[in-house]
């Protein structure tokens, strides 16, 4: 099918199979390998992207479902000069990255949270990250990163 959508703020039209999984479309057809696949069945959040500003799982979506949608992946977060997004910076500074496999999904989830709730409490952060598993960090440093990111972003506010 002819598929038209917006990918990280750029309009795009391409030819694909309608049942192509979105994770394969992103990673294999478009070379955007930031989005990871681990479980492939919705349990781990490694493949988290945003579709029309909502967190979704690229392993449980097919191409036909993103027709006309606005898609954001981890690659779209960095600024025009490739400067890291404040949430990405916070992950680096807090030491919240070990093997890094969960990181893109975690960063997408934290970014989404801070857009809705700029100054979240611990319960809100835990709930926002409840769909993302990490096998390495034990989560505390990821919590720290989310809190640090909130501080960074709030400083940017006028």
């Amino acid at each position: 099918m002819k598929l038209s959508f917006t990918l990280n703020h750029n309009a795009l039209t391409l030819e694909t199979e309608p049942d192509r999984r979105v994770i394969d479309l992103l990673r294999e057809d478009l070379g955007l390998t930031g989005t990871k696949e681990a479980c492939g069945e919705g349990e781990c959040g490694a493949c988290t992207i945003r579709v029309n500003k909502e967190l979704r799982l690229a392993c449980l979506m097919i191409a036909a479902q993103i027709e006309g949608c606005s898609i954001e992946t981890i690659e779209g977060l960095a600024g025009p000069d490739q400067a890291l997004h404040p949430v990405q910076e916070a992950f680096v500074q807090a030491g919240a990255v070990q093997c890094g496999f969960c990181t893109p999904g975690m960063v997408m989830a934290v970014t989404d949270l801070l857009e809705a709730i700029p100054d979240p409490d611990e319960t809100q952060i835990r709930k926002a990250l409840s769909g993302n598993l990490c096998r390495c960090t034990g989560y505390q440093k990821i919590m720290d990163a989310a809190q640090l990111a909130a501080k960074k972003e709030n400083k940017c506010l006028p």
Binding site: G45, R56, L57, A64, E67, S130, G131, N132
Partner: protein, 291 residues
């Protein structure tokens, strides 16, 4: 390699369903089942480009709230009508899957999957929800408890879709409560869950009560004997709830599965009834009927 069709109108959708094709709503059950080769549909009918509002709207029709089958769990949780009238449903959906799953999965998909652990189902049972099934020759309504006939089995005819869910407003219940017991808070399938609606007299005795149980039997279980036992019980009287807890442990015949044995479930069912007793515990969520 299934083909995918994206109908724009309800008529097109019903035509496609009449040809025996499989509906793709949020895909959170369907794609997992396809991956495990439990089902291998030839053609998927994706609901995302439908212009029909009925499937996607939450509307106040007077005595009832009408919910489109394709409304996602997140949208329901954010909806003021659902928040106002059905706190028990909100509490249950809040425990379903994860934020991502709630953004994708739909109420209609949860009902059609008809899992004994489906988190929307115990609330919809106590709320006396009805399903509206639509086909090319019109639509019909029936109670959800009649519609679901077994694990994964419903009374949907092959040419029909689940179109809308109708829930009567519940002015006579003051307290709404849902509790799910699982291995962890998110992304866990219920070992046992209970939805409860309670109506109180002026001096806080139970004058009306509805209970429904998830993951207890092959479909959602009810417990009329325990409800009877609870009638007249003062909300702050532990003794009354202890008797009711004993009653539910006799009344139910739980399943045993990989998640828990029948005896454990029986024990926990009693504990969930005890939790209804107010007093030291945090108060239950107020319903719209609360004064």
């Amino acid at each position: 390699m299934p083909a995918v069709i994206l109908p724009q109108t309800l008529d097109e959708l019903l035509d496609l369903k009449a040809q025996g094709h499989t509906i793709l709503a949020g895909g959170t059950d369907l794609f997992v089942h396809m991956r495990n080769k439990k089902i291998q549909p030839q053609t998927l009918v994706c609901l995302d480009q439908l212009k029909d509002k009925g499937l996607r709207e939450v509307a106040d029709t007077g005595d009832e709230i009408c919910i489109g089958a394709a409304v996602t769990h997140s949208r329901l949780i954010q909806n003021p009508l659902v928040q106002q009238h059905f706190p028990v449903l909100i509490q249950a959906l809040d425990t379903l899957g994860s934020p991502q799953i709630r953004n994708m999965g739909t109420l209609g998909g949860n009902i059609m999957t008809a899992s004994p652990a489906g988190d929307s189902l115990p609330p919809l049972y106590v709320l006396d929800a009805q399903v509206e099934l639509a086909g090319k020759n019109g639509s019909r309504r029936m109670s959800l408890s009649r519609f679901i006939t077994g694990p994964g089995a419903t009374g949907l005819n092959p040419e029909e879709i689940l179109y809308r869910i109708w829930i009567p407003k519940q002015p006579s219940y003051d307290l709404h409560h849902f509790e799910k017991v699982g291995h962890r808070k998110s992304l866990s399938i219920a070992i046992l869950s209970m939805a409860a609606l309670i109506g109180l007299t002026g001096d806080r005795k139970i004058r009306a009560v509805r209970l429904a149980w998830g993951s207890l039997g092959k479909t959602i279980a009810t417990s009329p004997e325990t409800e009877k036992r609870l009638m007249g019980t003062p909300m702050d009287d532990p003794a009354g709830f202890i008797l009711a807890a004993a009653r539910i442990r006799e009344e139910v015949s739980p399943i045993s599965d990989v998640r828990a044995g029948a005896d454990y479930r029986r024990q926990v069912a009693g504990n969930l009834v005890l939790r209804l007793c107010q007093g030291p515990l945090e108060p239950l969520k107020q319903g719209p009927g609360a004064v």
